[in-house]
């Protein structure tokens, strides 16, 4: 009878059932990515299910995994969403945020079983979150004033981020690479200037940082392969025959000779266009769209290097790097800003030819060339490096850093635990639960490394209680150690965002007492 007034096929879960379904869904998602957490975390293979495309990718990146999973549970979708936002906002900590949210809900489930009202739990969590946040802010360190130390911080952050990824074996090498690249950006933090090129072959260690810009394209036939003091015109224009843009027009002729005439007119038009382009006084022409044989030949005759079909991003990068503008009309050469660089040449990476623009006007640009045994490896390496670069650029903006290795989690847990006894009422229980959830994070990291987590985390707790507030997990030796000495640092912004958005999401899920699911839309042709 309950549902007689609803649309057919609508499902409604109420009260405990709704809560149960949220918990189960959210915790399942958290458990899914849990094993990837930490330096000893495992990877996942994702395989597409569609009939045509069964390609696989191997990854350790929480957001990538969660994006790929098809989910029906609404609470789980909330978790996926926070991981995505974390990815967009900070670029790292995507697994942590989902796992922490899951752990919070796991604790909440226990409290609900003790008949504590969800709203009371939320209240306790808020107090706990404020306490944790205060502790986090107190222990953040800001080395922005000291360049050398700041570089060390950045290096350590990159190392910490990369240590949980595939690149862990060469993490020092790649950390240097990433820090160098980010330092080149100075303060602008525009990741557009850093380009990552993947070329299968060789080994990961053969990857290198190339100052300047590399474009994975070919130079037209019969054109110079090396140009010094290049003046580059970057264009987005069609270099086949121009479409007529006036609406409703069409060509209608009554004799073969007329066809030939029109064809000639077309050619003339193109020749005119090429001439206009050449009149810019350029020696390199880069177009986003295709360049057909005919104009290519004209450029070759004029001794101009032409590069066709540079994709949209490529063109924008190039424009940013060389300081030119993306042009689409060519009537006023004096108004167009040309891009400039010292040298353009064709170089070999492995077996492939690419075009290198070096000595560019904007010194911020650089390219990271990744080498590796297989495409999967390269894809994952790119994702990992991208994470590291994101975190680094964010750290350049928000310069505070904190200790990694579970140190801050234990620290925050301790702060919450200290606060809890002074709070009267059931809220205190929720605060304790919050602290337990925080402490779960190092526990999972230790578990993933195959260590005795209970032993390690209690040792860690004791160390913090004794005042060693920089102690964390040393995942290479299976004991606890001072994170400052080990150089395990993390970005403050990332950690804060994890704390806030995970607890926000957990609260949101907890407050729900009804789930109303509309009948799925009937799709045609399935």
């Amino acid at each position: 009878m309950e549902q007689a007034y609803m649309e057919q096929g609508t499902q409604m879960d109420k009260g405990d059932n709704a809560r149960m379904s949220s918990f189960v869904g959210a915790i399942a998602i958290a458990d899914l990515v849990k094993t990837t957490l930490g330096p000893k975390g495992m990877d996942k293979i994702l395989q597409r299910v569609s009939q045509q495309d069964q390609s696989i990718s191997v990854t350790n990146d929480g957001a990538t995994i969660l994006k790929a999973v098809n989910i029906d549970n609404p609470a789980a979708k909330v978790l996926v969403d926070i991981a995505k936002v974390q990815d967009d906002e900070v670029g790292d900590g995507t697994t942590s945020v989902a796992v922490f949210c899951g752990e919070l809900l796991r604790e909440a489930e226990k409290l609900i079983a003790q008949r504590i009202h969800p709203q009371t739990i939320c209240k306790g969590w808020r107090l706990a979150r404020d306490a944790a946040r205060k502790a986090l802010e107190e222990h953040a360190r800001d080395n922005a004033a000291n360049e050398e130390k700041f570089r060390d911080d950045l290096f350590n952050i990159a190392r910490t981020t990369l240590s949980s990824k595939l690149l862990t074996h060469d993490k020092d090498y790649f950390s240097n690479l990433a820090v160098d690249a980010v330092m080149r950006l100075k303060k602008s933090g525009n990741l557009d200037y850093i380009q990552i090129i993947k070329k299968a072959g060789g080994q990961l260690r053969d990857s290198y940082l190339e100052s300047g810009f590399i474009m994975d394209k070919k130079i037209g036939i019969g054109q110079p392969k090396r140009i010094e003091n290049a003046r580059i015109l970057i264009a987005n224009t069609s270099m086949d025959t121009d479409k007529i843009k006036i609406y409703g027009s069409r060509v209608r002729v009554d004799a073969m000779s007329k066809v030939a005439e029109i064809e000639e007119a077309e050619k003339d038009k193109m020749r005119g266009k090429c001439k206009k382009i050449i009149d810019h006084g350029i020696n390199v022409f880069v177009n986003r769209q295709l360049i057909y044989n005919f104009p290519e030949q004209i450029f070759a005759e004029a001794g101009i290097m032409s590069i066709e079909h540079a994709d949209f991003d490529g063109v924008e990068h190039l424009a940013a790097v060389t300081g030119g503008e993306v042009a689409s009309t060519f009537d006023h050469p004096e108004l167009v800003d040309l891009g400039k660089c010292d040298l353009i040449e064709e170089v070999m990476i492995g077996e492939d030819k690419v075009i290198r623009f070096s000595g560019c006007a904007s010194g911020e640009a650089c390219t990271i060339v990744l080498r590796g045994a297989s495409n999967h490896l390269l894809d994952e390496a790119e994702r990992s490096l991208h994470d590291a670069l994101c975190v680094l650029t964010q750290t350049v903006k928000e310069t505070r850093t904190i200790c990694g290795g579970g140190c801050t989690e234990v620290l925050m847990a301790q702060a919450v635990d200290n606060e809890a006894p002074s709070i009267p009422g059931k809220k205190a229980l929720a605060m304790e639960a919050f602290a337990r959830a925080l402490r779960q994070m190092p526990t999972i990291v230790a578990d993933n490394g195959g260590y005795d987590s209970a032993e390690l985390v209690t040792q860690l707790r004791a160390a913090h209680a004794a005042g060693n507030d920089s102690y964390g997990l040393d995942m290479y030796n299976g004991k606890i150690g001072c994170m400052d000495e080990l150089g395990v640092r993390e970005s403050f912004k990332s950690k804060l965002q994890v704390l806030l958005s995970a607890s926000e999401a957990a609260e949101m899920i907890l407050r729900v007492d009804d789930i109303i699911k509309c009948a799925p839309r009937q799709r045609e042709g399935h």
Binding site: M1, T10, Y247, R252, K258, A265, C390, A505, C518
Partner: protein, 536 residues
Amino acid sequence: MSMVYDEYGRPFIILKEQQAKNRVKGLEAQKSNILAAKSVSSVLRTSLGPKGMDKMLVDPDGDVTITNDGATILERMEVQHQVAKLLVELSQSQDNEIGDGTTGVVVLAGALLAQAEKLLDRGIHPVRVAEGYEAACKVALDTLGKIGDTVEFTKDNTEPLVTTAETTLNSKIINVNRRKMAEIAVNAVLSVADLDRKDVNFDMIKMEGKPGGRLEDTELVQGIVLDKEMSHPQMSKTIKDVKCALLTCPFEPPKPKTKHKLDITSKEAYDKLYEHEQAYFTKMIQQVKDSGANLVICQWGFDDEANHLLLQNKLPAIRWVGGVELELIAIATGARIIPRFSELSADKLGSCGQVREIAFGTTKEKMVVIEDCKNSSAVTCVVRGGNKMIVDEAKRSLHDAMCVVRNLVKDNRVVYGGGSAEIACSMAVSKHADSVMGTDQYAIRAFADALDDIPLALAENCGLSPIEELANVKSKQLAENNPFLGVDCNQSGTNNMKEQGVFETLIGKQQQLLLATQVVKMVLKIDDVISMGQYQ
């Protein structure tokens, strides 16, 4: 029975296709309608009050909405039953009219119907119940007017407004930052409000949400924020002393509405056409340039060539700006929207102090901010939050809070929340009941009982023991003759809602009672439900 027999005993059909139709009549119809309405209101009951719970709604495409807003819940629930739909509309009309109290109105209607059901069981005619309710509603409204309080505020002293907005936000997920959110809502409304005419133009307040960041990063921008970027990546990102041209015509050769064909039959014609086409673009840009504009905001797209010409002429441009946004910009900058290039002239341009493009996070998400507008009143709330659902819910909550503030600007009378107004009304109504002759008396008393349901639900949601709490508050109100006593939802130790600062607007509450009574009357008067069969 819809089938009768004529004098020869042959069946005579009045209503066609009996099988395909569903028909319920009389008391049965009323009962089934009441049941449906009660079920709907029971869904919302747990969302009432500061400790109310949220609902998670999954739409047919699998997208998740989490909300506490009564109107939103009902709207997304895909209710099918006819009478249940009436309740959905009820909450929507409350939403349109007042913007807040959408949950309360449905719960009240549900309670009124539940009481009516009891009366029907006792054999009282539905129309008598309806009339009794009508009379009781009048008494309740009078009482509300009597216990109403006025709050004084000025542009400098906004404290009472903030407190009221806080009451509204209390029940929402964003109540962690309710103080900040309430201030944002109040500032937004006050900056567009015309205090002399007591008028608030909501069109001037724009909401933009962007997942990411924290809830407390939510801010009020004095100006307009567009979720767009400059049409060409190399256009300047900051423009000062802007003169903007608002165009509703694309930077493309015109497309005449008349169907036509242009045949090209010779080389000369072809060449001419090409020249003509080039001329179009240069002319368009020239016209913009001549008018003195230094920013172009266009409703449509640009051709590549036009885009580049704009860049070359140092004319930053924004394309694909929606019609509503365009109008808002027009109001804020004092510009006229220009439908044709030929009508461009300097006096139709809008002006503002600064336009800049800002980027968010690690992805290339960008927004354009238009600041220091001539008509400075337009504001935008940029809502941030940990995930999409929070941002959406925060937007809805802020909207509710703004509505409440607007209502206060219109009419600065308030009543106190926490169920105190309902309890006071209920007492007044039941006192009145004793003086009424006839069966109406029962209906009026039932109305009083229904009013009690609101504080009951409040107390229940807060985990208090509802009946005990209600009885306490009621006797206290009577003893102290103080209509400001209500259910202490926040457990702050006092029942006095005036001290707690829990306000609701008087018109909001009046509207709740009126609308709920109206709908209930309507439902009661239905004695025959004929639903058409499905079309075959």
